[in-house]
């Protein structure tokens, strides 16, 4: 296939948190609010003159200083963010919207404060409390947290317009991005798709890390380009897989899977498009904030949600996506030291395999996984096993016929 016009530009945008479009938006008076966790509704960080930047630590090398502070037994993602913060990589931020969802990420936010990584006079770090289940009273709690610990802080520190109208305007812009990403994502369902998993991963990530207003024109253009893009004569992949699990913000991880012959057709992981790129439908009867909070609670797939219906939802979503996108197997992945996904992965791998009949590859990985020879070998073996299964299935069907 012909290369996408903006792919190299998009890749360059992912090389730094403080990328060209972020700088441009700031130059136009924008306030950059960093966040990491899905539990912080991205759309609330895009009200008024604020814009959201989902934090990553691309091109991470040594994390020795962060390891001194956080020990070597903890999540490399959280440590990499601390390291990047100490290096000054997040000095461009005007605020940090933190959640107390998982202990290690929470400590990243706390180190940000304690080590005074950003000394702008109005800079703030919030710590919001997240529910573990979806109930009427937990929704009230969630909404209260977003109001008191996020929106009110933004208003107090920078005078940001946090009115219902401002929130609705942010939702409108957010939905535009979501519609484009969803439409592009749907293209992966085709037998011979016009987009690779890697390309989609890049497009999706820039939609999280760049100001919406700045990235929208590029995304619109890319969508138009993809509609006209001609696929290769034959599908390039040997198998199709859905990737499910904890945070992945490195497109090279997807590239490594695809280099072994497995196209990533569905991305059900933190920083992926499910959840995250669902359109938020608002009615006029309820305040926008209430509806947004409900939306985020309902679509959330975080393993932290403890209640039975959420546990079931996670399994159903993975199964549904794998079926809808024509996957041959599922890769359950987990960032090493992530307790939530560690427990979830072990059990669900077993359930998806024995009850839902999916071939499953279960892995834990480091934040910087692209250089891992072990992972490469495991992906290769998984692709081969999927191919063998397909051949056996074809033979069986031929025999039956």
């Amino acid at each position: 296939m012909k290369d996408l016009k903006h792919l190299i530009y998009f890749e360059s945008l992912l090389e730094n948190a403080d990328n060209e479009l972020v700088e441009k938006q700031k130059a136009e008076g924008g306030l950059a609010i960093g966040y990491t966790c899905f539990h912080i509704p991205e759309v609330l960080l895009n009200v008024g003159n604020c814009f959201s930047v989902r934090l990553r630590a691309p091109r991470t090398g040594s994390i020795d200083i962060a390891t001194y502070y956080m020990s070597n037994y903890t999540c490399e993602f959280a440590r990499s963010l601390v390291e990047r913060g100490i290096e000054g990589g997040f000095n461009f931020l005007d605020g940090l919207a933190g959640v107390d969802a998982c202990s290690m990420m929470n400590r990243f936010y706390e180190h940000f404060e304690v080590l005074k990584m950003n000394e702008k006079p109005n800079f703030f770090v919030t710590h919001t409390d997240m529910p573990y289940k979806v109930e009427p009273h937990t929704l009230v709690h969630y909404r209260k947290q977003m109001q008191l610990r996020l929106l009110d802080v933004m208003k107090e520190k920078y005078g940001v317009d946090i009115s219902d109208e401002a929130i609705r305007a942010a939702v409108e812009e957010h939905n535009k991005v979501c519609r484009i990403i969803t439409e592009i994502g749907e293209m992966r369902k085709a037998e011979n798709p016009v987009i690779t998993g890697y390309e989609f991963h890049v497009l999706n990530l820039v939609s999280y890390t760049c100001p919406k207003a700045q990235i929208l024109p590029y995304l619109e253009e890319t969508l138009a380009e993809l509609k006209k893009r001609k696929p290769d004569k034959k599908p390039w992949y040997r198998a199709r897989v859905a990737v499910v699990g904890s945070e992945i913000d490195d497109p090279d991880f997807t590239k490594m899977i695809e280099e072994q012959g497995a196209m990533v057709v569905a991305d059900r992981y933190c920083y992926g498009s499910t959840p995250g790129r669902e359109v938020i439908e608002l009615n006029d009867d309820e305040p926008a904030l209430d509806q947004i909070c409900r939306h985020y609670m309902e679509v959330a797939e975080c393993a932290r949600y403890i209640s039975d219906e959420k546990v079931a939802q996670r399994r159903e979503t993975a199964d549904r996506l794998a079926r809808e996108f024509g996957a041959d197997g599922i890769i359950y992945e987990q960032m090493k030291y992530c307790d939530f996904w560690g427990f979830e992965r072990a059990l669900v791998t077993h359930i998806m395999s024995t009850e839902k009949g999916w071939p499953v590859l279960s892995i834990d990985r480091l934040y910087n996984a692209k250089g891992s020879g072990q992972l490469r070998t495991r992906f290769q073996a998984f692709v081969e096993s999927l191919e063998i299964k397909k051949i056996q299935k074809a033979k069986q069907e031929g025999g039956n016929a």
Binding site: Y73, D100, N106, K133, H137, T138, E344, L347
Partner: protein
């Protein structure tokens, strides 16, 4: 200045009919044992036993017995010789205070000490009396329904470890004398009584064993990391912390108990970097090592990320069991979060009512909470004494008692108040007499911080006996001490939420770094400590992520802080010997100190209970 025992008495309650606790009807509930199933299990058990007998190298076994006999003979000979060479003053000391060199009680490769400790004539006699009293209580409790209770040993391997519970008592009181010994015995007796009663109930209710549907209708099981106070409002029901007996407590008696569970769940795919507590719970579920009891289960989000996830393993093993997930805000100091916690408790009460048909009783709840408030006052008196230059209540029995009373008993058992009274009477008498808990051995004032490993490794006791480091208090004791509301139902639920949010460990490791970092320095100053024993559970993410911050501040504030890595109930990751080695190294190189008992510097207790 002599302390006078403050006049603390239980408030006069509304006259209630005298009730026995726990309700004797629970023990009388009819068993419905499936004898055929028991027979099949016994057959399987016998096959395993026969295999073990066949696989045993009897020659080696006999050689080991012979070697032990020779070693015992030589030891006795040496002891007689040593006594015969003693001066009258030394002999008098021995008769009064007992032996000093406790390392001699250990033998390489043994599961128990070579003999019980000689504590002087009086204390040994007292110790023996308490030993008898403990056995009497255990036999009496198990006799309440002997068949399923004993049959449990054929179903669950962890039950065998309880046979060594008296050794746990000995281990926890090693080196203690006089009133300190008496206090330890009083406290540990109450814990063991609670454990024995709950074991009998678990055996009766277990659908594999006693199968008492009458009891199961009345039994609500809850996560061992969930506090028991909520059950105080249901006097017609019994609440049992489901994994406490098969996993958590038994691993403190025998550190090796949970190893097969950890292995099982890791073979299942769980990463080995997770905390051994939820790992063991999940492993026990994977290999069906937990009793199938009760009418419903209260799971919880506490205290940390790992524990949150264990509930999905429960639902997988027992899909027919209705579950309520009791979840509390993590940022518990935000006042706006309190109502969310209170509402969750309200919903939980409704859930229990629906599942069991029982009705919540505010009278019953308030009665228990009044008792709990009194118990807290007694606890604060202990702290007051230990903060002085003459601390009195030290050691693992106290630490365990505080934790058990705060988390599990929670004012439910009226028999615990007399124990508090007796212990505090002894405490003040000991203070006024300037007693030493470890006679002639007390040198340093210590504070334990982070997830502690002292029960598994008998560490506080070893610190005192070997180096004279007396642990005055530990992080997990320093929890919620404000009186709980006992009049207004809405305020009471809010207070209960506050209490739950500040459960053991969660109080410090959740809600922001200041709760564990700033709090440490505050407590270290309040207790005037010389040494901080900083346990580092290698799998505890909440604490590991603060390692640098704690180190930086310890240097700034000039505290002696000894980091001790451990992995709770998995001694394969960090052995007890390695843990002790960290202290030995620090004391010798940094403190330039000499041990008070050099026989305890190096000894082998890798497989010891």
């Amino acid at each position: 200045m002599a302390f006078k025992l403050p006049d603390i008495r239980l408030p006069k309650f509304r006259k209630e009919p005298k009730v026995k606790y726990p309700n004797p009807a629970f023990f009388r509930a009819k068993d419905e044992i499936d004898w055929k199933k028991q027979g099949e299990n016994l057959l399987e058990f016998s096959k395993i036993a026969v295999e073990l007998i066949k696989e045993t190298d009897w020659k080696e076994f006999l050689a080991k017995q012979k070697s032990d006999m020779i070693s015992d003979f030589n030891r006795v000979k040496d002891e007689i010789e040593a006594i015969s060479k003693m001066s009258p003053a030394e002999l008098q000391y021995l008769l009064q205070y007992g032996e000093k060199k406790l390392g001699k009680l250990y033998r390489s490769g043994a599961m128990a000490t070579v003999r019980r400790e000689f504590r002087g004539v009086k204390d040994t006699a007292y110790d023996f009396w308490e030993w008898l009293r403990m056995w009497g209580m255990l036999l009496g409790t198990f006799s309440k329904d002997l068949v399923p209770a004993l049959n449990m040993t054929f179903w669950y391997r962890w039950m065998i470890s309880y046979m060594c519970c008296v050794a746990f008592m000995d281990k926890n009181t090693l080196g203690q004398r006089g009133r300190a010994l008496q206090m330890s015995h009083l406290m540990i007796y109450d814990i063991f009584r609670y454990v024995a009663e709950n074991l009998v109930l678990l055996a009766k209710g277990d659908r594999k064993n006693g199968n008492s549907s009458e009891l199961n209708k009345k039994m609500v099981i809850f996560d061992e990391m969930t506090m028991g106070q909520i059950m105080c409002g249901f006097p017609d029901l019994i609440g049992v912390p489901f994994q406490l007996m098969p996993v958590f407590l038994v691993s403190e008696i025998d550190q090796l108990t949970c190893v097969p569970y950890i292995d099982a769940v890791e073979s299942f795919g769980l990463p080995s970097d997770t905390c051994p507590v939820p790992s063991s719970e999940c492993g026990a579920l994977v290999i069906d090592a937990l009793p199938h009891v009760g009418s419903c289960f209260l799971s919880s989000s506490m205290p940390c990320d790992g524990s949150v996830m264990a509930s999905s393993y429960f639902s997988r093993r027992f899909p027919d069991m209705p579950v309520y997930h009791l979840c509390f805000p993590v940022r518990y100091e935000y006042e706006e979060t309190v109502e969310d916690g209170a509402e969750d408790i309200r919903q939980c009460i409704r859930f229990i009512e629906e599942q069991t048909g029982a009705k919540w009783s505010w009278d019953a709840y308030f009665t228990c909470m009044k008792r709990f408030n009194e118990e807290t006052k007694y606890e604060l008196q202990k702290w007051e004494v230990n903060k002085t230059n003459y601390p009195q209540i030290i050691g693992p029995s106290y630490e365990l008692f505080r934790k058990w009373n705060y988390e599990m008993d929670g004012g439910a058992d009226p028999r615990v108040i007399p124990t508090f009274k007796k212990v505090n009477k002894l405490l003040y008498d000991a203070y006024n007499a300037r007693d030493e808990a470890w006679v002639g051995k007390m040198r340093y004032r210590g504070l334990v911080w982070s997830c502690p490993a002292h029960y598994y490794a008998n560490f506080s006791n070893w610190l005192a006996n070997c180096w004279g480091i007396d642990i005055l208090v530990e992080m997990e004791s320093l929890n919620y001490t404000k009186p709980l509301e006992t009049e207004d139902p809405d305020l009471a639920l809010q207070d209960l939420a506050r209490l739950y949010e500040r459960m053991v460990m969660r109080r410090h490791t959740n809600g922001g770094y200041h709760n564990v970092v700033d709090e440490l320095w505050r407590q270290a100053e309040a207790w005037n400590v010389d040494i901080i024993i900083m346990y580092q559970n290698v799998a505890c993410k909440n604490m590991s992520t603060l390692q640098g911050m704690l180190d930086d501040l310890a240097r700034d504030k000039n505290f002696h802080m000894i980091w001790i890595e451990h992995d709770l109930m998995d001694p394969r990751t960090v052995s007890r010997k390695t843990m002790r080695g960290k202290v030995n190294e620090y004391m010798r190189t940094v403190m330039k100190a000499e041990p008070v008992d050099e026989t305890l510097l190096e000894f082998d207790d890798e497989i010891m209970m």
